[in-house]
């Protein structure tokens, strides 16, 4: 007969065993020392599906301490279903305080967005990365992409972007727009919209990236050059919301989600749920600014 005691399994603080935490930590230090370079790591299975934020979780759980205040968003929303599940997991395994308030959080995990509010040097943001290899779209083999990174041979990438321009009149890359980090490595910023991409450049905050299924982690330290790939005559552009506004707040200068009512009517709403709450309640916020957003202001917003 099965004895019940056999099934009482106590999990370590932050779930992951200490040996694996140490391995991730060692590799994080290396990742920070070589900005934009993808470092392979063991990436043990988690009780969360591969492709559903395991890489982000590995990093979160390797860095989190008892005093951290944890926030997690998916598509900018604190209430997105997968984010809720991961929040409960992290909270259950660490007992850490969780928050929706961007300013209160010390450790933020995110999928597909950077917060609208500017993050500080007291905060760390961890990105869930589905496909860490930006060159995969031009080269399917790993041993070849590794070589391309090693030699900083990025011609194929530029050719592909330029072809897109020639064919369609613009670089058609949407979210996850490839960036050049510290003038050395082309990096996938994870599928954040182009709206967020410029906020990686010369930021206050440490950005950590985890791709669990692909077993890679990488980093952008604060105050690091992060430039979207572009050409002299063809420039990177962010999504243009100048003709739309948030139907709840009337606010324009934020990444907006396009939503449809039952009648098929199109509306827009601020994507960052905490930012939306703060704007609705007329609270003070300190938003990121960059030259692309500032251009929008010239539209007379």
């Amino acid at each position: 007969m099965i004895e019940n005691t056999k099934y009482t399994n106590k999990y370590n603080f932050a779930f992951i065993d200490e040996a694996t935490k140490k391995e991730i930590r060692r590799k994080l230090l290396k990742a920070v020392a070589i900005p934009g370079h993808q470092v392979p790591y063991s990436s043990p299975e988690m009780p969360i599906s591969r492709g559903w934020g395991t890489g982000g979780l590995h990093i979160t759980l390797a860095v989190i301490g008892k005093e951290d205040v944890f926030k997690i968003i998916d598509q900018g929303s604190d209430a997105s279903v997968n984010a809720c599940n991961l929040r409960e997991f992290v909270n259950g395994m660490t007992g850490c305080k969780t928050t929706f308030d961007t300013a209160e959080a010390t450790l933020i995990q995110t999928r597909h967005r950077i917060t609208e509010e500017e993050l500080t040097d007291k905060q760390i943001i961890v990105f869930q990365v589905p496909l860490p290899e930006p060159l995969r779209m031009v080269e399917r083999y790993e041993y070849k992409t590794l070589q391309m990174h090693a030699e900083a041979d990025y011609a194929k990438m530029y050719v592909s972007l330029y072809e897109s321009y020639v064919r369609h009149g613009a670089i058609m890359q949407g979210a996850g727009y490839p960036v050049m980090v510290n003038g050395r490595y082309i990096m996938s910023p994870s599928p954040i919209p182009r709206w967020d991409t410029p906020n990686l450049n010369q930021a206050q905050t440490l950005f950590l990236f985890g791709a669990g299924r692909e077993k890679r982690l990488y980093a952008v330290p604060p105050f690091t050059d992060v430039e979207p790939l572009e050409f002299e005559d063809v420039n990177f552009e962010i999504e243009d919301f100048s003709k739309s506004e948030c139907y709840k707040t009337g606010y324009k200068k934020a990444f907006l989600d396009e939503i449809y009512s039952d009648e098929g009517e199109r509306k827009f709403v601020i994507s960052d749920s905490n930012f939306l709450d703060k704007k609705s309640e007329k609270q003070e916020t300190h938003q990121y600014s960059n030259k692309y957003i500032d251009q929008l202001q010239e539209y007379g917003l």
Binding site: N12, F13, A14, E18, A19, K21, K22, E23, R25, R26, K27, L28, L29, K30, A31, V32, A33, I34, P35, H37, V39, P40, V63, I64, G65, K66, D121, L146, Q147, H149, A150, E151, N182, R184, Y185, Q202, L206, A219, V220, P221, P222, F223, T224, D225
Partner: protein
């Protein structure tokens, strides 16, 4: 040689790692390990020992380039289960104060595909400070993690070691990362991504 009883392998380790991460992400930024009741052997300061505790385990290896190596090795073995290795294979290399960098040319610098397969130096100094201190080198850092320029003053560090580091990091991303610790539990980092200059302050 005893296992340190006042060291918490879960929570102290996590807290110390965060300080290391912060210093590595912000070259030149001085962080301080909280005071702890640990007794590393002569030749290993507390901050270096705590750095070792935070990073070493049975899956990794280290080399002691200073004196009293046998005692230190025994101490690290009982506290981390990490193994000693030769200088050309070790992942972490512990250096005493004023080490002149000799022998370190053999340390791993990684490969073009895997530049992270490289050694990290944990070098001891007398004192690390934001202000000028006696007999110090003023190190100015520039690069990722630094807003413009960062300045840090260190005594008990040999200019020859910094020269060695510069040479190893010429072929970036190949290179070596440096963690400097002092007797006051302070630390700061020079990752290979950063360029630096130094001057004798007095």
């Amino acid at each position: 040689m005893q296992t340190e009883l006042h060291y918490d392998t879960v929570f102290d380790e996590q807290q110390h790692f965060r300080l290391l991460l912060d210093s590595m992400a912000r070259p030149g930024k001085i962080n301080t390990f909280p005071a702890m009741e640990i007794m590393p052997p002569v030749g290993l300061n507390q901050a270096s020992a705590l750095t070792g505790f935070a990073l070493l385990n049975a899956d990794t290896s280290y080399h002691i380039a200073g004196y009293n190596g046998a005692d230190i090795a025994q101490y690290l073995l009982v506290n981390t289960a990490s193994q000693q290795a030769s200088i050309d294979t070790a992942e972490y290399i512990f250096l005493p104060e004023n080490h002149d960098g000799r022998g370190l040319e053999k340390a791993r610098v990684g490969t073009p595909v895997y530049p992270e397969d490289s050694a990290t130096l944990i070098a001891e100094a007398e004192l690390i400070s934001e202000q000028v201190v006696e007999n110090s080198l003023g190190i100015t850092l520039k690069g990722p993690g630094v807003n413009g320029e960062a300045r840090v003053f260190v005594s008990g560090i040999n200019p020859a070691l910094l020269e060695y580091l510069k040479e190893q990091n010429v072929e970036y991303p190949l290179g070596i990362d440096l963690i400097v610790t002092d007797k006051q539990n302070n630390l700061f980092c020079i990752p290979r991504s950063n360029a630096f200059t130094y001057i004798k302050t007095n």
